[in-house]
């Protein structure tokens, strides 16, 4: 069995499961974000009277943080009252950040766990060896009532990535490249395991980027085998290592597909409008005017991402016809970026900082784009209308590329803008 199958088997109280089988599993953590008032509505419609285990439920207010409209404020109010009424243990209010950042930071994510959240990017938690998957509101309401959910055991695709990345080429470039080659349908109903030297040498934030964007290939979940890097991160976040049971994939497990990528010659990549797999080397769209740059979200809002902006922009000024919006993925990220002096340097360079949350990534607030505008963003989707007007153009790139574009006011290759790497 694959480690992911072992996770499902354990949570279904079975010795064995196999791909294609439908199993009912107990869930270790259920998370609801603030897009999902519908969870409470479905819970009430189904006659819910109690939450199965309030200790295992988290609410995260990130998509509308702080509330931009009266309606979203009212939704927050109802959700807070639900949390208090049912004694739910984990409430990350508008001061916390993006769910996929705050949950690992809080030590809630560990290898071998089964995590279900109302967010498609829950695949991010594969970076920690967890089985994380996104569902809609009613599925989540079912978990709140029963503690269980049905799953189709997924086939697993192995993506092996080898080679040392060139300076200025980031994990985001790697996953965009893979998406461009495999397409948005490559892993529908399946899971993706990332392996190989490149992944082994990647830090946790880099691994999170790969796993985060695996859903853009349709993946149900993703997985990176936990190693010392994983355990060191978990230790730093207070996870009790001694009680961890880390499942291992059996040596005879047969992957449904195997892909190999050598990234040693990879250059910075960009997904051009309007599809995530519409990927070209940045040079192919060099010179395109840029109105807004966004660095943030569950894909590109970590300290390491802001650090790239700092490296490229410190002591300089962004183009006077371009806006740079930076949104740290969490309160911890924001504080660390402040401590390291990134925030001050970037504000001096012309950046606008907003409160931790999802904001413009899904067109909610804090920097949406107008018709005819071009945005280069470190986020995960360039669907029409994703960040505001359907008449806007979204280019997905690494935080380094995004920062360099803010400096130049047009699409450029960041490698030319890095002084010291």
């Amino acid at each position: 069995m694959h480690a992911l199958e072992k996770i499902l088997a354990k949570h279904a109280a079975k010795d064995k499961v196999k791909a294609g089988e439908i199993v009912t599993c107990k869930v270790d953590l259920a998370e609801v974000n603030d897009l999902y008032m519908q969870v409470i509505e479905s819970f009430n419609e189904m006659g819910g009277k109690r939450v199965w285990d309030p200790e295992k439920v988290a609410f995260v207010f990130d998509h509308y943080a702080p509330a931009p409209t009266i309606k979203s404020a009212a939704n927050h109010k109802v959700m807070r009252e639900f949390v208090w009424e049912y004694g739910i243990k984990h409430l990350f209010d508008i001061n916390a950040g993006v769910c996929h950042q705050v949950m690992p930071e809080a030590g809630l994510i560990f290898p071998g766990m089964l995590l279900v959240a109302t967010d498609s990017h829950t695949t991010t938690h594969g970076a920690f060896g967890a089985f994380g998957t996104g569902v809609g509101a009613t599925d989540l309401a079912c978990i709140l009532m029963s503690g269980e959910l049905w799953f189709r055991v997924p086939e697993v695709i192995k993506i092996e990535i080898n080679g040392k990345l060139k300076p200025g080429v980031l994990p985001k470039d790697v996953i965009l490249h893979i998406l461009g080659k495999l397409g948005t349908e490559a892993a529908v109903y399946k899971a993706i395991e990332f392996t190989g030297d490149t992944v082994k040498n990647m830090d946790i934030p880099g691994r999170m980027v790969l796993c985060n964007m695996s859903v853009e290939m349709g993946a149900k979940t993703s997985y990176i085998k936990p190693d010392e890097t994983t355990l060191n991160y978990l230790k730093s976040r207070g996870v009790d290592e001694d009680n961890l049971e880390v499942p291992e994939t059996d040596p005879d497990y047969e992957y449904s597909e195997n892909y190999n990528f050598d990234v040693s010659d990879l250059s910075p990549q960009v997904a051009i409008p309007h599809s995530v797999d519409n990927v070209v080397p940045v040079e192919a769209v060099k010179g395109t005017r840029v109105d807004q740059v966004f660095i943030g979200s569950c894909t590109g809002g970590r300290v390491e991402d802001i650090e790239w902006a700092y490296k490229i922009l410190k002591g300089k000024k962004i183009n006077d016809r371009t806006r740079l919006v930076i949104i740290p993925a969490s309160r911890d990220v924001y504080l660390e970026a402040m401590r390291r002096g990134y925030v001050e340097a970037l504000i001096n360079a012309g950046a606008t900082f907003s409160a931790p949350g999802c904001g413009p990534c899904l067109g909610a607030h804090q920097g949406v784009i107008a018709p005819g505008e071009v945005c280069v963003t470190a986020t995960n989707r360039n669907f029409p209308g994703r960040m505001g007007s359907t008449g806007g153009d979204i280019y997905l790139a690494s935080p380094a590329t995004a920062a360099a574009c803010a400096l130049a006011g047009k699409i450029v290759n960041p490698v030319e803008y890095i002084e010291e790497v």
Binding site: G47, G136, T138, E185, Y189, G385
Partner: protein, 166 residues
């Protein structure tokens, strides 16, 4: 729920994502009628006013990709769409639709064979689709017993209400 559905086809292409089905700027809405009024607005503005109860959406590959937002399934159901037939579906959308009692049928090459406005008859249990205008039939994938049992109960909510609700 009826296992045979018939309705007029509206045609959409590949990768109709959740932002096209239900744009993010309306996500704070909670009333079903409000949600229904923005159906497919990102892909075809005006669709919500045009669509009639019982109509069927026909699409290419990867329908419903993107967000886990249940609004995407709610808006289609509440706007009156009786089924979605596509060459493939994104998994969260598929789950959301079934949970809400909106039939979703996978049928290879449906997109190339059906024209806008043609009347389709779908047998949910076998996946068989008949085009009343051309007389052609297309073989879609029948829904599994597990999924059919959810649909036959009108979605997951009545099932859960019976099992866990008071």
């Amino acid at each position: 729920m009826q296992l045979k559905i018939s309705g007029k086809a509206y045609i959409f292409g590949d990768n109709i994502d959740t932002d096209q089905i239900y744009p993010g700027r309306y996500l704070e809405l909670t009333a079903k009628a409000d949600i229904a009024s923005h159906c497919m607005e990102g892909a075809r503005p005006g669709f919500a006013r045009e669509v009639k109860k019982g109509d069927i959406i026909v699409a290419g590959k990867n329908f419903g990709c993107g967000s886990s937002r249940e609004h995407a399934a709610i808006t289609l159901k509440e706007a009156g769409v009786s089924a979605v037939v596509a060459e493939s579906f994104a998994r969260i959308f598929f789950r959301n639709a079934i949970n809400l009692g909106l039939p979703v049928i996978t049928c290879k090459k449906i997109h190339d064979n059906v024209k806008e406005g043609e009347i389709l008859e779908i047998d949910l249990s076998t996946g068989q689709i008949k085009n009343q205008n051309t007389g052609e039939t297309y073989r879609g994938e029948g829904l599994s017993e597990f999924v059919l049992s959810i649909l036959e109960n009108g979605g997951i909510k009545p099932l859960f209400k019976e099992r866990y609700g008071n």
